[in-house]
C-alpha cells in the first residue's frame, strides 16, 4: 500500500461531560488517506461525514484521538490542504480572479506571480475569459469551477470536497464530475489525493478508488473497501450495479453487515454495532408515508427502494426517512433492499381520511415510544397539559439539542395528524383536547 498522507487515530467527537450522559457524534475511528487515491465517504445525512472532514482538515479538533500528517500530529488547520465547499463559499464582492488569488495573497505570493498562477488554473478548469466577472453573474456550475480553481491554485497535497456537486442540477453535476475525473486521470491536478464526502451512492462508485460507508448515531465505519473497476466506469456494467446494490444494502440495514459482493473484491473493515439506543423518530410526514404506501400498492405491494427513489427522482437520502417511518409503524417491511407492504399498510393505503387517522393512531401508540411517552405523561397530568420543555429535556439526554428539537417537531406533526394530542405553538405546550381526552384509549391499553 502506498504512502499515508493524513491519518486519524482513534478520533472521536462528543459533546457534554467526558463520562456519563455525553452525546457521541463520532465513535472511535481509524482512517488514513493514501497518496494516489480518491477516497469517498458515504453516509446518510446527519451521519457526521462533514464533521469527519473538518476534523481531518484541522478545522475542528477531535474530542479524543489525534490526526497525523506525515506522521506529525497537526495543531490547528492543516497546511497544504484545500476544501471545495457545498455552498461554494466564494466571496461575492471579489471577482473570479480575486477569489482565486486570495489564498495566494494569504501566502505572501507577489502580485505578478499570483495573477499568472491564477490565470493558468482558471484556464485548466475552463473559466478562461471569466476573470473579471463576479460570482453572482455566473451559473452554479461555473461558480463551483471557481471553487475548484481556488482550491487547486495552492497545489494542495490533499483536496477535500464536501458534497461539491449536491447544490448543482443533475446535468451540470454529471458534467463537472466527468471533467474532474479527467483532470485527475491525466494528472493535470496538482494534488496527490482526493477526499470526497457525498451522500450520492452513484457518485461515489463513479469516482472513487476506495469507499467508506458511515453509519449514524454515532458515526462509525460500516464498511471500507477498495474498488478496482476499470475506468471510465459505466453505470450499466454489472460490477457497478453490484457495488451500488451492496452499498445500498449496507445503508438500509443499520444493524447487519451484508457480505461484500465477489466482484469488486476487498477487505471489509469494521463491524461494530452500538449499544441499545433510545429509538429515533425518522423525520417523515404522515402524508409522505401514505403516498409511499399508495405507490407501493400500485406496484403490487413490493419494490426495490433504490429503483423506486430513482424513478420518482428522489435522492435516496430524502426517501429513506419515509421508508423507515413506514417500517416503524409496521406498514411495510424492508428486506434485501426491497420494501414490502404489510396487511396493515395495505389497509392504511386503501382507507379514507378518517379511517387512516384511526389506523395511524393505533399503529403510532403501539409502536412509537416517544408518542406513547408523551401521551402517557399528558394523561397522568390532571389538566392534561405539559410544556414542550419537559419533553425537550427528556430527549436531550439522548440526542443533541438540535436533534431533540427535530424529534419533538416530528412527534408534534404525527401526534396532530393522529389526533392523539395537540400542541400550542404560542405557549409551547402539549395538551389533550377535551373531546379527544374522552375518546382516547385508556392508559392501560397504551402501555406496552
Amino acid at each position: 500500500m502506498s504512502e499515508v498522507i493524513i491519518e486519524a487515530r482513534q478520533i472521536q467527537k462528543f459533546y457534554g461531560p467526558p463520562d456519563g450522559a455525553r452525546i457521541q457524534v463520532i465513535a472511535p475511528t481509524d482512517l488514513g488517506i493514501y497518496a494516489g487515491e480518491i477516497l469517498a465517504v458515504l453516509g446518510p445525512s446527519g451521519s457526521g461525514k462533514s464533521t469527519l472532514l473538518r476534523i481531518l482538515t484541522g478545522l475542528s479538533t477531535p474530542s479524543a484521538g489525534e490526526v497525523l500528517r506525515h506522521g506529525q500530529p497537526i495543531d490547528g488547520p492543516c497546511p497544504d490542504v484545500s476544501i471545495v465547499f457545498q455552498s461554494f463559499a466564494l466571496f461575492p464582492w471579489l471577482t473570479v480572479l480575486q477569489n482565486v488569488e486570495a489564498p495566494l495573497k494569504a501566502r505572501g505570493v507577489r502580485a505578478i506571480e499570483r495573477t499568472k498562477r491564477s490565470l493558468r488554473i482558471l484556464d485548466t478548469v475552463g473559466l478562461d475569459g471569466f476573470e473579471s466577472a463576479y460570482p453572482k453573474e455566473l451559473s452554479g456550475g461555473m461558480r463551483q469551477r471557481v471553487g475548484f480553481a481556488r482550491a487547486l491554485v495552492v497545489e494542495p497535497e490533499v483536496l477535500f470536497m464536501d458534497e461539491p456537486f449536491s447544490a448543482l442540477d443533475v446535468l451540470t453535476a454529471e458534467n463537472l464530475r466527468g471533467e474532474l475525473l479527467e483532470l485527475w486521470q491525466n494528472q493535470r491536478m496538482p494534488t496527490r489525493a482526493v477526499f470526497l464526502v457525498t451522500h450520492n451512492i452513484e457518485e461515489a462508485v463513479l469516482l472513487a478508488d476506495r469507499i467508506i460507508v458511515l453509519g449514524k448515531n454515532p458515526a462509525k465505519i460500516r464498511t471500507d473497501f477498495r474498488l478496482n473497476l476499470p475506468r471510465p466506469r459505466d453505470r450499466k456494467e454489472p460490477g457497478f450495479v453490484q457495488t451500488v446494490d451492496y452499498i445500498y444494502r449496507v445503508l438500509t440495514q443499520p444493524d447487519a453487515a451484508p457480505a461484500l459482493p465477489a466482484e469488486p473484491e476487498l477487505e471489509a473493515a469494521t463491524k461494530r454495532s452500538g449499544p441499545a439506543k433510545y429509538p429515533m423518530l425518522p423525520h417523515a410526514r404522515p402524508g409522505g408515508i401514505a403516498g409511499l404506501l399508495e405507490i407501493l400498492l400500485d406496484r403490487n405491494g413490493r419494490d426495490d427502494i433504490y429503483h423506486l427513489a430513482d424513478e420518482l427522482a428522489f435522492e435516496i437520502d430524502d426517501m429513506l426517512p419515509t421508508v423507515e417511518a413506514a417500517a416503524l409503524l409496521g406498514f411495510l417491511t424492508v428486506a434485501e433492499g426491497d420494501a414490502e407492504i404489510t396487511p396493515e399498510g395495505r389497509a392504511f393505503a386503501e382507507a379514507d381520511i378518517l379511517a387512516r387517522k384511526e389506523l395511524f393512531r393505533k399503529a403510532a401508540l403501539e409502536r412509537v415510544a416517544l408518542l406513547r411517552q408523551i401521551t402517557r405523561s399528558l394523561v397522568a397530568k390532571f389538566d392534561r397539559t405539559l410544556p414542550a420543555e419537559f419533553f425537550q429535556d427528556l430527549l436531550e439526554e439522548h440526542f443533541s439539542e438540535e436533534e431533540a428539537q427535530r424529534q419533538l417537531e416530528t412527534a408534534i406533526n404525527w401526534g396532530r395528524y393522529a389526533e392523539i394530542f395537540d400542541y400550542d405553538a404560542g405557549g409551547k405546550r402539549f395538551f389533550i383536547p377535551e373531546e379527544v381526552a374522552s375518546s382516547a384509549p385508556p392508559t392501560e391499553a397504551v402501555s406496552p
Partner: protein, 576 residues
C-alpha cells in the same frame, strides 16, 4: 422590505444576564462619577460665548460648522464601532460583557451627560471654542456609535460558516480576513445604521449647540443655535431661513453621501443571484469612472496595500511558527481583570454614596417626575401609532399614493425634531397652550417617523395573496384589520415603537424644559428635572435623575419590548 440591521435593536439571547448587567451598571455608575467629579473640579474656568447672528448671510458658515461637527463625530463613531464590534466578536472572554454593555449604553439618555462632558472638555482646552466643540462632538459620538457597533458585531457573528472556514483553510492572515471577509460582510449593515445614526446626530447637535449651565452660557456657531436664537427672538423670517438651510443641507447630504454609499454597498450583498435591480447613484458612477481617481488609486493605494499585504502575510507565517503565550501571562491578565472589576465596584459605591446628600423631597420629586414622563412617553407613542398605522397602511397598500407621499414624508422626517422645538414652542405659546401637553407634542415630533416608516415597510411586506383572500371571502373591515393587517405589520410596528420609545425618553430632556425669551418654561417630569439640575449646577440631583431615567428605559425594554419582540419574531413572522 426590512432594513438589514435595523430590526436588531434588542438582544435576545445572552449568557449570565444578571451578573453582566450588574457589572455594566457598575461601569456606567463609575463613568458617571468620573464625569461629575471632573466637572466639579474644573468648574472655575471662564468660557467665551459666541454671539449668534440672525442674518441669513451667516447661514452658510453656520451650516458648514454644523456639518463639520457631524462629520468628525461620525468618523470617530465609525472607527470606534468597527473596533468595538471586532473586539467583541473575536474575544471569547469579553464577548458577553461587551454585548451587555452595548445593550445598556444604547438606552442611556445622552443629553443628561451634556453638562459633565461640556465642563470637562472646556476645562481641558481653555483656549476659545476648542473645548466646547470637542464636547459637542463627543456627545454626538455617544449618541450615534452604539447601534453601529452592534450592527457590525451582529454581522460578524452572522458570517456563514463555510465562508469562515474558507478563510481559515486558505490561511488568511488577520488583516486579509478583515478586509476580504469581515468588513465587506458588515458593510451593508454599517451603511444603513450610519444613516440612522447621523439622523440621530443632528438631533443631538441641535440641542447641544446652545445651552445654559449654571450661570454660564455655551454657544457654538451652527444651525441649531441659529434656530434657537431666531425662535427666541420671535423672528419668523429667520426661522424660515434656518429651516430652509437645514432641509437643504440634509437633502444635499442624502444625494452626495448616502445614495452613493448605498449604491456602493450593494456589491457587498451576500447573495448568489442578482435579485432586484441594484440602486444607482450618479455620484458613485462619477467616482468609479473618473480617470484621475483611478490613476491616483493605481499609483498610491494599490502598491501600498500590496506592500502591507505581503508584510502581514509573512509576519503571520512567522507568528504561526511560534509557541502559544506562556501561562503566567494569562494569570497576569486574569489579575488585571479582577483589579478592574474591583475598581469599578468601588467607584460605583462612591457614586451611590454621593447620592446620600439628596433630600427626601428631591427623591420623591424624582419619582413623581419619572412617573409623569413615563405617562407622557406612552401618550406620545399611542398618538404616534394612532395616526401612523392607518396612514402607513394606506401608503403601503397603494403604490401610487406611496410615490406621491414618500418624498414629502422623507423630508419631513429628516428635519431633526430639536430644530423644530423652538418653532413649535413659539406656536404653542401664541396659542396659549402649556408645556405639560405641549411636551407630548414635542416628543411626538421626534419619534413618529420611526413608527411611520416601519408601518409602511410592514404593509408593503404583507403578501398580496393574503389581501386577496380577505377580498375573496368578503372580510368585514374589522376582520380585515384584525386578521390580516394588524398581525401582518406587528413585527414592524414593534420595531418602530421600540426605537420611538428610546427616542421619546431622550427627547423628554429637551421637551419638558425650555429657555424662551429670557423666561424658563417647564413642567413636571424627569426630563425637566435633568435640565433643571443642569441649569442650576446641582450635579448630585443630575446624577440621580440620570440613573433613574437609564433604569426606567432599561427596565421598560426588558419587561415590555423584549417579550413583544420575541412574540413578533415567532408567532407573527410572515416568512417561515
Amino acid at each position: 422590505m426590512r432594513r438589514p440591521g435595523l430590526a436588531r435593536a434588542l438582544i435576545l439571547e445572552r449568557t449570565w444576564p444578571l451578573l453582566l448587567d450588574a457589572l455594566v451598571g457598575c461601569a456606567v455608575l463609575a463613568a458617571a462619577y468620573g464625569m461629575v467629579a471632573t466637572a466639579r473640579y474644573w468648574l472655575g474656568t471662564v468660557t467665551p460665548a459666541v454671539e449668534i447672528a440672525r442674518s441669513p448671510r451667516a447661514l452658510p458658515a453656520y451650516a458648514f460648522y454644523s456639518v463639520v461637527r457631524i462629520a468628525v463625530a461620525y468618523v470617530l463613531s465609525l472607527v470606534f464601532a468597527v473596533a468595538y464590534g471586532y473586539a467583541a466578536a473575536h474575544s471569547r472572554r469579553m464577548e458577553s460583557l461587551m454585548v451587555a454593555a452595548l445593550d445598556i449604553l444604547q438606552s442611556i439618555p445622552v443629553l443628561s451627560f451634556l453638562p459633565g462632558v461640556m465642563l470637562a472638555m472646556v476645562s481641558l482646552f481653555p483656549t476659545r471654542q476648542l473645548g466646547v466643540e470637542f464636547g459637542s462632538i463627543l456627545l454626538i459620538f455617544t449618541g450615534q456609535v452604539w447601534n453601529m457597533a452592534f450592527s457590525f458585531y451582529a454581522s460578524l457573528k452572522a458570517i456563514p460558516r463555510e465562508l469562515r472556514e474558507a478563510a481559515v483553510i486558505y490561511r488568511f492572515p488577520r488583516w486579509q480576513r478583515f478586509l476580504d471577509l469581515e468588513l465587506p460582510y458588515g458593510a451593508i449593515g454599517l451603511v444603513w445604521n450610519s444613516m440612522v445614526s447621523v439622523a440621530g446626530g443632528w438631533f443631538f447637535l441641535m440641542a447641544c449647540e446652545m445651552f445654559v449651565l449654571g450661570k454660564r452660557d455655551f454657544r457654538l456657531p451652527g444651525l441649531g443655535s441659529y434656530l434657537q436664537r431666531a425662535a427666541g427672538a420671535g423672528d419668523t423670517a429667520a426661522i424660515f431661513w434656518g429651516l430652509g438651510a437645514m432641509i437643504g443641507v440634509i437633502v444635499l447630504m442624502d444625494q452626495l453621501v448616502w445614495r452613493p454609499a448605498i449604491a456602493w454597498a450593494d456589491k457587498f450583498k451576500f447573495e448568489q443571484v442578482e435579485s432586484a435591480p441594484p440602486p444607482r447613484s450618479p455620484i458613485l458612477h462619477l467616482l468609479r469612472n473618473s480617470r484621475a481617481l483611478a490613476k491616483l488609486r493605481q499609483s498610491t493605494i494599490a502598491p501600498l496595500s500590496e506592500r502591507l499585504g505581503l508584510y502581514f502575510s509573512r509576519r503571520a507565517a512567522h507568528i504561526r511558527a511560534q509557541a502559544p503565550p506562556a501561562r503566567w501571562k494569562r494569570v497576569l491578565a486574569g489579575l488585571a481583570a479582577a483589579a478592574v472589576v474591583a475598581a469599578l465596584a468601588y467607584a460605583a459605591f462612591l457614586t451611590l454614596a454621593s447620592l446620600k446628600g439628596i433630600g427626601r423631597e428631591e427623591m420623591l420629586g424624582t419619582l413623581a417626575g419619572a412617573g409623569t414622563t413615563f405617562l407622557r412617553v406612552n401618550a406620545a407613542l399611542l398618538l404616534a401609532a394612532a395616526w401612523t398605522v392607518p396612514a402607513g397602511v394606506a401608503i403601503g397598500f397603494h403604490p401610487r399614493l406611496a410615490r406621491i407621499a414618500q418624498p414629502f414624508v422623507q423630508i419631513a422626517a429628516s428635519v431633526p425634531a430639536t430644530a423644530l422645538f423652538p418653532v413649535v414652542l413659539l406656536g404653542l405659546i401664541r396659542l396659549g397652550g402649556g408645556l405639560g401637553a405641549g411636551s407630548v407634542l414635542l416628543m411626538l415630533l421626534g419619534t413618529q417617523w420611526y413608527v411611520l416608516f416601519n408601518v409602511i415597510a410592514g404593509a408593503m411586506a404583507i403578501p398580496s395573496d393574503l389581501r386577496e383572500v380577505a377580498g375573496v371571502f368578503r372580510f368585514s373591515r374589522v376582520d380585515r384589520w384584525k386578521i390580516v393587517i394588524l398581525p401582518g405589520i406587528f413585527p414592524y410596528l414593534i420595531t418602530g415603537l421600540v426605537t420611538a420609545s428610546g427616542g421619546a425618553w431622550n427627547a423628554s430632556i429637551v421637551a419638558e424644559y425650555f429657555h424662551f425669551k429670557g423666561r424658563i418654561l417647564s413642567t413636571l417630569g424627569l426630563g425637566a428635572q435633568i435640565s433643571h439640575a443642569t441649569d442650576s449646577g446641582n450635579l448630585d440631583l443630575l446624577l440621580l435623575s440620570t440613573i433613574v431615567m437609564a433604569a426606567m428605559v432599561v427596565s421598560v425594554n426588558r419587561l415590555v419590548w423584549r417579550p413583544l419582540y420575541r412574540l413578533s419574531e415567532t408567532r407573527f413572522r410572515l416568512e417561515s
